[in-house]
């Protein structure tokens, strides 16, 4: 039968349709297209299409995301989380740029351009030399510094047991003092008019 299910609704997806929409790339490289690019090519495209937000060196302008820097800051008071310092998989960088960047003109880059851009971001993070050619074949030669920095949600082990049961109802503390006040910061928007 043409239909797998019991309602017979929908119709089979055609291979062209699936390849048009299914672009995800998993950490093992499944989905990576054939292609290549290096940081020098990437620098030119980056300057043209990305630097107005992310800065010439991927360092980020204003409130826009920083793509480079922040090595070894994750346990600091203000960690700087970038592709280099934080992202566990390079596949995510390719996948996300290819699908959703440049911001406002998503999906406009060719596969080779995306390889070149990823290479430029790696170079900006001091993770490759400037003559390294990134391709589907060399993709896993790059070591992501924070690849082992993630653990699966462990709230069940670290939190739930100690925050369960009948809570204190009376005389739970000796003294209660105000330790911090939002009005000191005064960053709440004026609510006199429309937002």
């Amino acid at each position: 039968p043409a239909f797998a299910g019991k309602f017979g609704l929908g119709r089979p997806a055609l291979p062209e349709e699936i390849s048009a929409w299914d672009g995800d790339i998993t950490p093992d490289g499944t989905g990576l297209p054939v292609g290549s690019g290096d940081a020098l090519d990437g620098e030119e495209i980056f300057a043209e299409k990305c630097a107005s937000c992310h800065g010439d060196f991927a360092e980020g302008l204003g409130n826009w995301p920083k793509l480079a820097g922040g090595a070894d800051t994750l346990n600091h008071e203000d960690p700087l989380k970038t592709v280099g310092s934080y992202w566990p998989y390079l596949t995510t960088t390719f996948d996300y740029i290819k699908r959703s960047m440049p911001y406002g003109d998503a999906g406009s880059l060719t596969d080779d351009e995306v390889y070149a851009m990823v290479a430029y971001i790696l170079y900006s993070n001091d993770l490759i030399e400037d003559d390294f050619v990134l391709s589907n074949e060399t993709f896993f030669d790059v070591e992501m510094p924070n690849a082992n920095g993630f653990i699966v949600d462990n709230r069940a082990e670290t939190e739930y047991a100690q925050w369960t049961g009948e809570p204190c109802m009376q005389d739970c503390k000796d003294v209660v003092e105000v330790t911090m006040r939002a009005l000191v910061l005064d960053v709440t928007p004026d609510q006199g008019g429309a937002a």
Partner: protein, 427 residues
């Protein structure tokens, strides 16, 4: 004095001005205290004499203009621009549990797109027997379900990790809405495509993504996908609003709002998670030692007093006072909410307006008699797993200050004797 203070003061003046017949300066606006007859009663008012609007005046109505404060608000400094940004539900002014769609918060990563039903396509592919394409009309032909669930952004209360920062429940807790959804179980659609090809479903995943430029792709374990996830096309009785995913969005009960993919266009059955940008760079929670939790899907039990609160000061003076708020849990139903007036020293159990429902907002009330003394108001939710909402100190002891997401700490409002309230932290 800040603009914020000015607003509170001026709104109090406006209130007092409006209640002038009850006697100038009388904070207890009590009609029984009136010394002179109230002209709103003794004089015929225009609305009691002339016509109101005809039934053809408004085909789809908005709230009356006097409720102009009950609106979504943006905090400009939070994000670089407004199309990958957040706004806030005015929870300080709402009651009950259902969020009006028109002021229910928005969070987009590349703006709210306009996608017609005629142009809508939903693809199911990957490890299925037959990859399928559905039109919008196809989806309406599957058996439907109705459920009320909260959608809470993972970042709700996130700006408060390091301290008391934004002054109002709308800003500290307003990345949330609660609607009655109509839709088709995701399970039904997956079964329509056939899951025999996928083999053992344990350890399998679905990857879901939207039609917008950001795509917002997220990986969901098959167990959840087959449990209670809905492919929804109606909310609170009508079509989804554009900004909430029209014409079709994913509803993922109890789980962080980011996974509620809007304008959903593709569902892929996979044998591994994609580890997309929205589950690696974002929506991962960094702990004090620099490691980060990933796949922190469930939103834990949480509550907040919505009134009184900084945007909803006490204007009526001493005497009867309704303390009210919202409680919710992504791991089940709310069973109890306790309220403290002294910063957590002593607690009273509040009244739930209705028994808590699973993964839905629950309204609580504490009807009290206020003597005009300063209060440090807190609420503490409990859910049917026995979990008790923690303090911010307890959360910080486990997680540090840099988690960004999943801040479900107990909130404190300092209510002064003049009725104004402020966001504070207490020892």
């Amino acid at each position: 004095m800040s603009d914020k203070d000015n607003n509170i003061v001026s709104s109090r003046r406006a209130f007092l001005g409006g209640a002038v017949a009850a006697g100038a300066g009388a904070l207890t606006a009590n009609a029984a205290n009136a010394q002179t007859p109230d002209p709103l009663i003794t004089e015929i008012q225009p609305w009691a004499q002339e016509f109101g609007d005809g039934v053809d005046a408004v085909r789809y109505g908005l709230p009356i203009e006097h409720e102009g404060d009950v609106i979504r608000r943006n905090v400009e400094w939070l994000t670089a621009d407004t199309v990958s940004s957040i706004n806030f539900t005015p929870i300080h002014a709402l009651d009950g549990t259902i969020t009006p769609q028109g002021c229910a918060f928005e969070r987009h990563h590349s703006g709210a797109i306009d996608l017609k039903k005629e142009d809508y396509r939903l693809m199911i592919n990957g490890l299925v027997d037959t990859p399928l394409v559905f039109s919008y009309a196809d989806l309406e032909r599957f058996p439907r379900e109705n459920h009320v669930y909260f959608c809470e952004c993972a970042a709700n209360t996130g700006m408060e990790w390091a301290g008391a920062q934004l002054n109002g429940a709308q800003f500290t807790h307003g990345m949330i809405h609660n609607m009655e959804y109509t839709g088709v179980p995701l399970r039904t659609l997956l079964e329509e495509a056939g899951l025999d090809t996928a083999g053992d479903l344990a350890g399998k995943w679905v990857f879901v993504e939207g039609a917008d430029a950001s795509s917002n792709g997220r990986s969901i374990p098959m167990e959840k996908a087959l449990d209670d996830v809905l492919v929804a096309f109606k909310a609170n009785g009508e079509a989804l609003r554009k900004e909430h995913g029209y014409p079709v969005r994913l509803v993922v009960p109890g789980w962080e709002g980011n996974m509620w993919v809007k304008w959903i266009r593709r569902i892929e059955v996979m044998d591994a998670p994609v580890e997309s940008r929205e589950e690696t760079s974002k929506y991962t929670d960094t702990l004090e030692d620099g490691t980060s939790r990933k796949w922190t899907w469930a939103m834990d039990a949480k509550s907040v007093v919505t009134s009184p609160s900084p945007q909803a000061p006490i204007k009526h003076g001493t005497g009867p006072l309704v303390i009210t708020g919202l409680a919710w849990s992504g791991r089940g139903a709310i069973t109890r909410v306790d309220v403290s007036k002294d910063g957590g020293k002593n607690w009273e159990t509040a009244r739930l307006a209705k028994p808590g429902e699973k993964m839905a907002l629950t309204r609580f009330y504490l009807d009290t008699d206020w003597d005009g003394s300063e209060m440090m108001l807190q609420s503490r939710a409990m859910d049917d797993t026995g979990y008790v909402q923690p303090t911010k100190t307890q959360l910080r002891e486990v997680r540090g200050l840099n988690s960004i997401y999943h801040n479900n700490c107990i909130q404190t409002w300092l209510v002064r004797s003049n009725g104004e309230a402020e966001n504070v932290e207490v020892s």
